[in-house]
Symmetry: C2
Subunit: 463 residues, 2 copies
């Protein structure tokens, strides 16, 4: 019965893209206080889309955390497939900040199609992929008048800021999300034309390390040599945490790490991965870095790491200001792998920086957000339905990979709801996630919709 | 004859302060392109003040450097004291940026008098002190109709950005500045009520160290572990350059340094300096830092050092952005002491960072500006005239100190014009130079004017 729905996806494909453009025009940057209204506008847009698709009980669910009022969740359901499994569709409508703006070829919130790709902040992460879900539901409901399985939809607006709101909701109202499996499209294909399921994600802690020295900004001529410099202190602490060979020197940092199985490592080695092409075309640096005894895929999938994202404070204007700033703050994150727990890693890190804190400096470490690392089972009918669906659409066998990034909610689905998650994503390695000129390959947008239609159909048929 | 002029300074003292307030209202921030017009306005204000004082040939001299069009110099002269020496009065009308604005108790460009101090950006550095010169000239010319010596005035608008314009002018048109000595009031008194001459200044190089890794900003989840992080690289390089004990590890950095004489060190030890009070009330940190085997005065006057002023680039907004930035730039300066040359130090630093540059990173080192370190002789009639003048005004013997900061032009006066400089300053240690809540103690403004009147008179009488 999905053939009619597949036909519908093709017939209405152009309209789907136009709708996506509208959604991409809303700058729903969840981390920016000035965009609170835009984030809500995007939530309303998604809710309207779900209503138009024929979903039921569509509503915004307000969230809040201790730190602040949160962005709303968008909920919808269709539960009339008696005896069939229930699939929870997850996505997010919030996006990363678009800065640095001057590196975008077209403005980040004015979607533009070039060479078969749609360029905009959020194109692939995750508005475009989330919209595939909405359009797959519409295609099924408009042609068959019903869905092949029971479906709940939960779209969040805080994925890019740690997803605390949805995590709290899942924890406290798990009964309202009762399902047998979740489908998430927020990952990428390993290579163009290569259908891919992601079966593991790194976790993370995102922190701020603040260093305070003098009581006020001081003239570096008059006080240089005697007054503590918080930027130098941060540099000294960061250099002690991360060695040049990529090893993280925080005591106990690697304790308890679960290595990938031999079979998994073997499968990774057979993936079409060209390290030199990756260096040249994806990273674009003179050399790759990190732990030389691990392959690049291991370094980015199954090894923890540490990165510094920015060091606000001090003088950042053009030219010169001879100041010893009173304080500086480094934005530092760690990616975690199975066997590591965010709170434990944070505690080790905090203890270490407090121990190595240079003379005259006071440090404060703050956790901004965190997510658990996860690995999911590949041995269940939902994964089989996904690989079957993609085999039909792409005509190829699916590869299993892990992702280096974090989708914190997947861990919550496992832990709180006890359900497996199928991470079937349609991004490409060069889609510029979190970077200027983010894009989504439009062919994959359409194939994604068809794959989701076939996946839901397959789950319904197979049960 | 200076007694009439001294009487005039007291009679008109209140007006002098009102005029200074007007000058302080002009945000002549020389490093900020958006304030180019304000910088010129301040130059015009100073020129008008010199004209009103009765000075001759008052004019703006345009400057330019290879990098950009410069801010104008203000020139004036009065050369009718036949047979008397010529004194070159130097000051600057440009100011440091006022940021961080939220730490000012009253707005930086709305001067406010509290507890006998005038608060504003530039109050003491150097508008207030430069205005003392203009008012001393006015007081002499309005009462005696003439000056006791020949005077040239040269006020610049680029001191806070390296003073390249005036340096070029001195180099190329030294004949137009022919003088026997220079008077500079851009330093501070060692302690309240303690008349002070500064006889040495550190030099500096102000640089930008740019690190580039990936070709574009990358998602730290997807690429963390394999892509070079320019912030981590800068931290690693900075930590290798400056050890926690304050030692700078650049090879050859300390080569050729001229130590202060035993007599000078002895004199420093007898100065009223309380290290604990300095730590607590001036610096406000939990501990002082730097080379423990040197006293604090040595560390800030006669030892070179390195500071980081800011590290622009990356994500500096509120919250989190999981990005590996393509580039980061550290603003790094070094203070130099006699025996060191800016170009040589820069070359050693550049060579070292290129050597230690981590894998996958490309560095670029840029010199923003530089200044030579200097020491001036204390054995001449100009220094004696200055100590005599301050003895009359303060009723105390003058102490000789050095300054940790740089006034690049003083080196040029020595090298290009071959003249000694008297650095007679009236700031106080807690005047917050280059920091929020900069102030000038008004009693010192008035005593400064009187001291300059008596100094010029003394030079004239003694010759």
């Amino acid at each position: 019965m999905s053939e009619a729905a597949v036909g519908y996806t093709k017939e209405h494909g152009e309209r789907f893209v136009e709708e996506l453009k509208e959604l991409l025009r809303i700058p729903s940057v969840s981390t920016a206080p000035e965009h609170v209204g835009d984030v809500r506008k995007a939530a309303e847009f998604v809710a309207d889309g779900l209503r138009a698709a024929g979903m039921e009980k569509v509503r915004l669910i307000e969230t809040s955390t201790t730190a602040r009022k949160g962005h709303p969740l968008v909920y919808a359901e269709w539960l009339h497939a008696a005896g069939k499994p229930t699939v929870l569709l997850y996505g997010h409508y919030d996006v990363q900040p678009a800065e640095p703006l001057d590196e975008w070829k077209s403005p980040p919130f004015e979607p533009e199609i070039r060479d078969g790709n749609i360029y905009a902040r959020g194109a692939v992460d995750d508005k475009g992929q989330m919209w595939m879900h909405v359009k797959a539901l519409e295609s099924l409901l408009k042609t068959d008048g019903k869905l092949p399985v029971n479906v709940r939809v939960m779209i969040e607006g805080e994925e890019e800021v740690g997803g605390e709101g949805i995590a709290a909701f899942v924890r406290e109202h798990g009964d309202q999300l009762k399902a047998d499996a979740a489908l998430v499209s927020d990952t990428e294909m390993f290579a163009p034309e290569l259908p891919t399921l992601c079966v593991g994600l790194r976790g993370m802690i995102y922190t701020e390390l603040e260093a305070r020295g003098a009581a006020t900004d001081l003239h570096s001529g008059m006080y240089g040599g005697a007054a503590p410099n918080p930027f130098v202190a941060l540099a000294q602490m960061i250099a002690q945490m991360k060695r040049e060979d990529g090893h993280i020197a925080i005591p106990g940092f690697y304790d308890g790490i679960e290595e990938p199985t031999k079979a998994e490592l073997e499968a990774w080695r057979s993936l079409p991965f060209d390290e030199e092409a990756y260096r040249k075309h994806e990273v674009g640096s003179t050399e790759l870095t990190g732990e030389a005894m691990f392959s690049v895929l291991e370094r980015t999938w199954s090894r923890p790491t540490m990165d510094v994202h920015g060091i606000p404070g001090g003088f950042i204007g053009a030219g010169a200001k001879t100041v010893i700033p009173a304080k500086a703050t480094a934005k530092i994150s760690f990616r975690l792998v199975p066997g590591m727990r965010p709170e434990e890693t944070f505690a080790k890190y905090k203890k270490f920086v407090e121990e190595i804190c240079p003379k005259g400096i006071q440090v404060k470490v703050t956790m901004i957000h965190s997510g658990e690392p996860i690995v999911v089972s590949t041995d269940n009918k939902y994964v089989r339905a996904a690989t079957d669906a993609m085999a039909k659409v792409f005509g190829k066998e699916t590869v299993f990979v892990r992702g280096g990034g974090s989708i914190p909610i997947v861990g919550d689905f496992v832990r709180e709801l006890g359900i497996p998650t199928v991470m079937m994503g349609f991004g490409l390695p060069d889609d510029n996630l979190h970077a200027p000129n983010e894009k989504f390959h439009l062919a994959n947008f359409h194939r994604g919709i068809e794959s989701i239609v076939r996946f839901l159909d397959g789950v319904g048929a197979g049960s």
